[in-house]
Symmetry: D2
Subunit: 344 residues, 4 copies
């Protein structure tokens, strides 16, 4: 009963098989492997973007920080949600790589066009004194498990474009959002106005691979230099390529995300039936719910693993409602979910 | 006939097996995996350093840049050889992570104590105007395939310690040097005076794992923050741990390096017999040799892969001696070497 | 009728005289001038801090950014008010010099102990993932013309100390606050718990000199290196020293600030009499007031210079209340103020 | 008898007068002062560059570091002489502002075109692995008192332009070189191929003002942001403008530099007559000479102030030749020089 994170589960067996296959013979190092050619073609095809520049790195923080640094000058500010991963969970990596600061757009984990516009208007109007307006970073799936609709993305991008600001998508859970929206990668990105995507694989069955996809290839060489300077260029790069190639082959990425989301729906429905309250309506593979301490205790004692969310198991009041976060990846079995629910 | 780099070869099969075994069930993310406990114990045991702080990253450049940044202030200068990897091959990553500059100690790829002392004396004597003296970085195996003897290491460390400077060892080919010297890891590091080691695995059969070992654990927390801020902390960290654990189990690391060095010796003896000249005496798994263009042409036509070293295959003079670099990893078979030699 | 900024007025004549006197003969460069010895003694005396480390720079942004960088690690966050100069008006200089980020403590321009505590508790509780807790920066006089009382300062410092955080005071208008509180520099700083002060001179009659005062002298050498590396060490440093020495001699600093505050009080009383509304109660030398457009028009036409505050002179409604900022320095004459008031 | 540095002498009286004149009334802050308009016109006129972007900062290190950062990306390397001020005397400020590294062109303090070409060829040929080729920085007057001829400058710029590299001139002693060459500012800069000049004033009679002149104005806004972010934008900017305006008015800059160079020539001739040896032939206002310890002792005892150059006054051998540096500014009187010479 492991619901702590989509970082805790195993790698998809097909990915391990692909690593074994990639292990034959010799390959040029540093991204010149033949597997990378396949990956580049796959991603360009999937995104309907035949000229996109495509790169692989091993961590989501690297993808975000390097992508943003390529969109940004050190005297600018990046607009993002107050709970964005780049703000809360990357230990100043975005600031390190960009040199810039982050402006937190007031509101919840989903930015609204109005709040974004107000934040943009609040910066860049003091000549050289304030930071200049920089890129907008949108997290899809959001940190609270919500999914921006296509029109919400379009509206945010429209505001950014009005001020000529580039737009980054932190897609650590890109595919979970994609299958939730049931749209195409192009529709969820460049057709809405996104310029660069951190296209996550690690949370969806890879060992540690994220692609960075630039729809404007003019930044390609700069990104390559930034990746190397950030120490994020792998010598034995073929093992990143092989993972991503397996991920995109035969719809493994889509199947895994669909499974994760279905697991989440199953769990959410069960929770709802027991009377749990939801902090956010689950739309992808994460649940933020509140139910009584006694239930948390029972789950805990039975070995369920997940994070309480600002609350603590200790406390006398058995009826007190405690918030928690439950994350499902592709590997969680229905039996585990059912066992979890049966304990409530 | 692949002699381009020890980055071009495959991962050791036992390492792949270990990844498959590590793929069972759930593990806490971000280095809290149980496999990392094993790795920590292994490395502390191997280095006879029960309190050493041990961390894993995925690239050699990350290991070097993060280790140096922990030893260094941004107003200091790092002393290294003019051909050091940190100077020539890391696209300013050390400067990015440290903020400092590099002072190139005049000479070849092996620093001498006298040259190091002169370089140290040449800095840090201009008050706030010049950079302050910072760490010394020693590459073992050197970039030209030489190995510092224990007493050479001792002498360099003595000079550094005389000026209270910390010492880093870039051990991308640590084990190749170790088996060449036939000494213990402790003797090649902290007993000589080394403070921090980049303990490489990638060039010796891993997919992409390097350990950073601090003999002074007081820097541990700072390193952890720097690693995260540099986007080098893996979420699914267990797959780094599992590789390193397999590497250190049953002497795989030592066996692989012995094989690589033996391959190199075999190749070097063959080259010597054909009259090749050596730019440096091969002492580990790299050869820098010079032989006639006609022989390079023949090898090239037969599919041998390696780098010419400042020379070019084009040219009319068949007798001209062209320099090249030949690198052997553990996976090169004797048959390949013999075929290579037979073509000379 | 110049109320745009305390940066717009002239230098005090005594300061110019001091520059002329300092212009005799030769002096060692880079802070080794004899005048600096006088300044060091003056500041240590004034602050009752015989071991304080004292340095001069030429801009307030340099004083703040260098002081904070000495208190801070690049993986930390600086706590400050949302309207702090370091956040809004320094074009990412604090981020550039510290490498850190800023956490905006919710509220107005005065931080409250509760809000500060909540902000501190909101950071530094996510292991390596979030930024670590760094220094607190307090602006005295605040950006909206308020003055923290001694007990307010004490309470903020107590919160910071509870979490072992160092405390910086941005004292660009230090003396205006000091004379408003009628306390000693020691009481307004280290006795309350402040560790480092940006002790401003430029806004109070100097040409461009700010002192940075460290009550803990252990950071002295680091600051000197940071100042030089930031290109803020003056070669002909005696001309900074001479200004500061003249400023502190014969109470010029106190007299100027008292005059500025008195000018402000006179202006505020006049405004109040005309029915103006105050956004903040003026406590030092700045007024944020609201009065009808027709009055602003009249002042504008008569040549009064000041900034509207988020409003614009254009507009049909003559009765609309427009906000503005009015700043008084020492040089504003009563006649100018009276003329201004007569136009209302 | 002050020959320690051209930073030790006084400010030209006309400059002080200009400060007093500038002290009347109010001026917009942060470079919007009316005096800056005059300065801009003066510098554009002097350089025959009607569209040049012109900025003022207060230190030579700021001028160099900010100018280079505008020409340079953080993954590049700056080519300069091994004794360049940016390498030896700025405590990593260029590295801090640019993020880049410095490549020291082998040779003395004057770069030769051949050595520059070799250094350029030695970088930028390793794909993403090495630093990319960045700007060339030429010091005129050199750190050893030599002056590049116009054709030498042209040849260096030609090499740089061949590789499309931008060129910076560190002109801390610009005017001393100019009057030595007896050419126009345009001839010594953009006509030869220089893109940006640090046009020094501080060493030639100002209190602390250097102009940065971009012949390509497309970098203007970036420079303004970098200057503010570096904390180098003065609020009471008029006092920088007033100094520079006075400097350029009525040929004060040229007269002062001519006087300094003439002082130097007079001193050099006297030294030569006493048998002193010259390490470099003096061409502007600096002398590097060697004469017996006994003479140094006598000068020292009589109160002469200057730096020995790698040697020390202590020592038994009165006949030993000790090297020293002697710098003349405009303010050194003939009587001081004659007294100095009479002691030899």
């Amino acid at each position: 009963m492991q619901f702590a994170s989509d970082n805790s589960g195993p790698v998809h067996p097909e990915v391990l098989t692909a690593l074994t296959e990639a292990n034959r013979g010799y390959q040029m190092a540093y991204g010149a492997d033949t597997q990378m050619n396949e990956v580049r073609d796959q991603i360009r095809g999937i995104f309907e973007a035949p000229r996109a520049a495509v790169y692989l790195v091993a961590t989501g923080t690297a993808a975000n920080a390097l992508a943003l640094s390529t969109l940004c000058q050190p005297w600018e500010t990046v607009f993002c949600a107050p709970v964005a991963h780049i703000h809360e969970d990357e230990c100043n990596a975005p600031e390190f790589f960009t040199g810039a600061k982050l402006t937190l757009v007031p509101g919840g984990d989903k930015m609204t066009p109005d709040a974004l516009r107000q934040s943009i208007l609040g910066e860049g109007n003091r000549g050289v004194h304030g930071p200049q307006r920089g890129p907008v970073s949108i997290t899809q799936v959001t940190e609270r498990g919500s999914v921006y609709t296509r029109s919400e993305l379009q509206d945010l991008c429209d505001v950014a474009k009005e001020y000529s600001l580039p737009i980054h998508m932190d897609g650590a859970r890109f595919t979970n959002a994609l299958v939730a929206l049931n749209c195409s990668p192009a529709e969820m990105t460049w057709k809405a106005g996104i310029d660069v995507v951190s296209f996550g694989g690690t949370k969806n069955g890879l060992m540690g691979v994220e692609a960075v996809v630039f729809f404007d290839e003019s930044k390609a060489w700069e990104f390559e230099l930034r990746r190397k300077r950030g120490a994020h260029l792998f010598s034995k790069h073929r093992y990143l390529s092989a993972q991503m190639a397996a991920y995109l082959r035969d719809d493994l990425w889509l199947k895994s995300a669909r499974q994760a989301n279905a697991n989440c729906t199953h769990l959410a429905e069960g929770l709802r039936a027991t009377g749990a309250e939801f902090l956010h309506e689950p739309q992808a593979n994460m649940i933020f719910a509140r139910f009584p301490r006694r239930q948390h205790r029972r789950l805990h004692d039975a070995g369920a693993v997940y994070h309480l969310w600002g609350d603590t198991l200790d406390g006398a009041d058995d009826d007190e409602m405690l918030a928690c976060r439950l994350v499902c990846d592709w590997s969680i079995g229905t039996d585990q979910i059912d066992r979890f629910l049966s304990l409530l």
